[in-house]
Amino acid sequence: MLDPTSLAAVRLSVELALATTLLLLIGGTPLAWWLARGRSRWRVPVRALVALPLVLPPSVLGFYLLVALGPNGPLGQLTQALGWGLLSFTFWGLLLGSIIYSLPFVVQPLVNAFEAIGDRPLEAAATLRASPLDTFWHVALPLARPGYLTGAVMGFAHTLGEFGVVLMIGGNIPGATRVISVQIYDHVEALEYAQAHWLAGGMLVFSFGVLLALHLLQARKGRP
């Protein structure tokens, strides 16, 4: 079925997608809360910035990341000064790229969920003696659960299918940066269509499966 290099690519992709999703859910929560409920005039430009990866070609994103992470780029100089070396062509570089690339897929559902809550439940909680932090944990987060589910599924599935950014900043190092989409590309280049079919078909079935599950869950939630 799958040869060892393909299996390694699947494992790497899953690890990358899990790490990316987890970090985005944690870091995206305060960002989404601020975007949904803050009053700063910077919200609008930041919203546009967060949505940018939706429309930008991944190669553009990857190109700038490559430059920034390189030996003369600001991020590259920072990581070198911290003694981490250069992140381009490493798993950590990929992780950073994936976080930026999948940012809108996680943050946007969270923003929508926080906006849908509205002021009233939060005000009601305040009149029931709940402090703002207490309200966030016990009212806002539980009410935003559908948003977290959507964000997690979309972030995971989207990172799993990443190609352009990886190719630019991660290259094609087996076991370190060679993810599923790059592996498929390699198989096709080498005319190993059977291997490419297994991987491509697997991605198709998986992606359809999670989206179907998500929509079924949402449909059940909507019913009284």
Partner: protein, 360 residues
């Protein structure tokens, strides 16, 4: 309680009040839409920050800009019920009740949750989700939830406005019980004169962000300037005591400071015991005036009264303020009749009352 608040909204609206309100009973905050009722309530709750402002409730300073005091909403011992149901959808009815209860130290709990549940008749609903409750049931749970925190002040922001007439009729009796049985002062925002008449002890009239008048509800409603603003709904309230029920004619005899009134109980109303307090509403259009006591008339209630003042009510009618004993009454008569009878302040008349509504 004392309240001084100025809140500037965009679009030229400003709430600007400086009030002392009674620390007991139900105070209705009444006025047309957009007069600042809800803003006033939010300022008391701390959901809107008045600038400048001073809010003192039962001796507790919640806000005092002069002294630099600001207590955020969650540090104020208040309960609030909003216009539309604001239950937490992710919790059952019981989870909603426990939410506030758990956040109040046991030593400060003065209203037993069981009593609130019993008072509002929601015992059988506790395991349901808010989505499985009717609008009236949801508001009852929301009231119990607010009571569970043992508030020193209950703020009700048009709690019946989102309900249809049938649901209103379902919830209103619970409010009446609440107001009677719990000793928690209530600020009740409404634009329904009917709710004011049924629930309020004290009335605060707001108009354009200003406090127009305040006082005991019976006296205030019968004031001519206030009555004129209510048009056809103008009327007076009579607080009385049941004398007896005349079973032969099915008539309730009610004693009050100005005499006795006989009235027809509403169909299906509970039986009333002698000595029980009742509130009656007499609309101005149901009161006519005579100079001598008519004997051959079908009207049962005829009270000796004294004219206090007259005010034009449109081109053809006159509103007459009177008092019987020390109970204020209102009559609406034609200007022609007023001239024919030469009605003037101080004049003794007989008020013939055609219709009386028993409110509670």
């Amino acid at each position: 309680m004392a309240l001084r608040a100025r809140v500037d909204h965009g679009a030229g609206f400003r709430l600007d009040v400086d009030l002392r309100l009674p620390g007991r009973g139900v105070t209705a905050v009444f006025g047309p839409s957009g007069c600042g009722k809800t803003t006033l309530l939010r300022a008391v709750a701390g959901l809107t920050r008045p600038a400048p402002g001073r809010v003192v409730v039962a001796g507790d300073v919640w806000q005092d800009d002069a002294a630099g005091v600001w207590r955020p909403t969650h540090q104020r011992a208040l309960g609030m019920v909003f216009q539309e149901a604001s239950l937490f959808d992710h919790l059952s009815a019981r989870g909603n009740l426990d939410f506030g209860l758990r956040r109040v130290p046991a030593a400060q709990r003065r209203v037993p949750l069981a009593q609130a549940i019993e008072l509002l008749g929601i015992g059988h609903l506790l395991n349901r989700r808010p989505a499985q409750l009717s609008g009236g049931e949801r508001q009852r749970v929301a009231i119990a939830r607010a009571l569970a925190t043992s508030p020193r002040l209950l703020l009700l922001d048009e709690p019946l406005a989102a309900l249809d007439a049938a649901r209103k009729a379902e919830v209103l009796p619970w409010f009446e019980r609440l107001a009677r049985e719990l000793r928690i002062p209530v600020l009740y925002v409404t634009h329904s004169l009917d709710e004011v008449a049924r629930l309020a002890d004290h009335l605060l009239l707001l108009h354009g962000g200003q406090a127009v008048a305040q006082g005991p509800v019976a006296g205030l409603l019968a004031r001519l300037d206030v009555a004129q603003a209510h048009g056809d709904a103008a009327g007076a309230l009579i607080d009385g005591v049941v004398d007896h029920f005349d079973a032969a004619y099915h008539l309730l005899h009610v004693r009050f400071a100005g005499g006795t009134i006989q009235c027809v109980p509403a169909p299906g109303a509970p039986a009333r015991r002698p000595g029980q307090r009742v509130r009656l509403r007499v609309q101005a259009r149901d009161v006519s005036l005579t100079l001598s006591a008519a004997r051959d008339t079908s009207i049962l209630n005829m009270l000796p009264a004294t004219v206090d003042a007259l005010a034009d009510d449109g081109p053809a009618q006159v509103l007459v303020a009177l008092h019987a004993g020390d109970t204020p009454l209102l009559a609406r008569v034609t200007r022609k009749s007023a001239d024919a009878l030469r009605l003037a302040p101080g004049q003794r008349v007989f008020a013939q009352i055609k219709g009386v509504a028993v409110l509670d």
